[in-house]
Symmetry: C2
């Protein structure tokens, strides 16, 4: 079994759901769940800001990245509030006498064995806790980085809480096993900073999340992962989650490929030629509107924007 | 006693020392210590980065604000490292395969009774803890905001720590008692954002930390607070600390006035006319050099820069 895992690296589809859990599906085995992770770190988003009681007819809706939006229910308008969770923390004293802001931003890393999903260590600002496991020592390491941002508003004299909210998200990184890097020279930071082996978003940015025969896609509205056949375009398998999906990745061949959350069309080539200026504008508008998703989880409204943030300018 | 405290607001000199403690001195009573606070939140700065064993002849020296500087002992040069504690946390994956960065930034508020120094509440990202005390309910509230930024570097596969450091600082805010604001209309956030009653750095930015007769100054090199007579310029009192001083404030008349850490000259008017261009350059150079202080605390080197960060442009 062990030798199987290291000789033939299996692919994995890793899903982060809004309840704070992580699931790993086997794309070469009909999307069967390989393992599940719940480190008890809580939901990705929670707040008291969306309750009408807090701010009347204005509701503050957080995005999973920590941006804030104000929905004015009377005017039916959604506006950007130019505060993020982080800038709120830096501006505590500017809020006047009635409010004191406390909170923080934390970055915690969970080191897992990729095949079995067992936790090897959890490291945070407080320190590290480690678990040894001879069985899993040979497996490659999957790193889940959780960023959580929290703000609480309290009364200055009493310390009574007025409102709070907390948003977080996971990022994934793959670390190959030492033996598969035989002959690899331990490089120093200088070249490390420019190395791309284990980057999360990189050259593969333009790749679709593709297996040999299938393309993996996520429907954020339906909370499910789907695999489409590349040639026929038909659905090969799908996996239904019971909570909204926050992020998704495909790990294969030592690379981590983000799976777009906003492209749930089946895999068909698009040959449509947009002749008209009007058609052009309409198509662009369609694309714009579907790049933001507003969902609700446990009574909490939240926003997600297009996951595939391109880091590169296209070329001529 | 109680009525005395509320009728005649006493001034206080608040000192934050590098061991994480806060002291309150009575400037109208020869600088006698009125109270002391140690919430067990640890030193303001601690790290493993300055030990030669970590990086050879390059030592990483943090400033109390979270900036990082690299001292190359061979070349005798001090350079800015364009990473701050916060940017390190955002760039975790860029450090290559050998290092995973974890950590966080936290903002915690301690609500104290100004006269007695008793803790009324401690609020942080985790929540609030409150202590009721009828005796102190009438006192004005002093708010100490502690910001702490921590980074740990660990090995990706093992979770073994490679290095760490943590820097923090306090900020002070004064909240007047409700009764002294009789007739004051509870304003909403709109006007609060622009209100100046309880600002930390404000109009008073140009004020010297002055009492009726004395001027309060801090000698960061000698770890002491001094009060000079305004007319004669002689020393009225001084208070010697056993640990370096990080920040200092004078609270009087409901205002918080930061005390510069870099102006330990006695109080004398400077009538020197700088005629020569050369004199001008030399004087400016002297001022530049004394605006940064490098100290050591428990074997840990750290930097402090000029506390009086002016937020305003001078006027014509
Ligand atoms: W209150
Ligand atoms: W290692």
């Amino acid at each position: 079994v062990l030798s199987l895992c290291c000789l033939v690296f299996r692919s994995l589809v890793i899903i982060s759901t809004l309840d704070g859990r992580i699931a790993a599906l086997d794309p070469e085995n009909s999307g069967r769940k390989q393992w599940d992770l719940d480190v008890g770190s809580g939901s990705l988003v929670s707040s008291s800001l969306s309750k009408p009681e807090v701010f009347g007819n204005k509701m503050i809706i957080p995005s999973l990245d920590g941006d804030l939006f104000q929905w004015d229910r009377d005017r039916e308008s959604m506006e950007a509030v130019p505060f993020t969770v982080e800038s709120l923390l830096e501006s505590s004293y500017k809020f006047g006498e009635d409010v004191v802001l406390v909170g923080g931003k934390s970055l915690t890393t969970y080191g897992l064995s990729s095949y079995s999903g067992k936790v090897r260590y959890i490291c945070s600002a407080m320190g590290c806790r480690r678990w040894d496991d001879d069985e899993t020592e040979q497996e490659e390491t999957l790193l889940l980085h959780r960023t959580q941002k929290t703000v609480r508003a309290v009364g200055p004299r009493s310390g009574n809480e007025k409102w709070n909210f907390s948003v977080g998200h996971f990022e994934l990184r793959y670390v190959p096993d030492i033996e598969t890097r035989a002959g690899y020279i331990e490089s120093n930071f200088k070249s490390n900073m420019n190395k791309e082996e284990t980057k999360i978003i990189s050259d593969v940015d333009e790749q679709e999340a593709m297996m040999k025969d299938t393309v993996i896609k996520v429907s954020v509205a339906d909370w499910k992962v789907m695999a489409f056949n590349r040639r026929g375009g038909h659905l090969e398998w799908e996996y239904q989650f019971c909570t909204p999906i926050a992020s998704a990745w495909l790990v294969k061949d030592g690379k981590v490929i983000p799976i777009s959350l906003f492209d749930d069309t089946s895999y068909t080539a698009n040959n449509e030629v947009l002749e008209d200026e009007e058609d052009l504008v309409e198509a662009a508008r369609g694309a714009t509107e579907s790049s933001v998703y507003l969902g609700m989880y446990r009574g909490q409204l939240y926003l997600q924007s297009s996951v595939r943030i391109s880091e590169k300018f296209p070329t001529n």
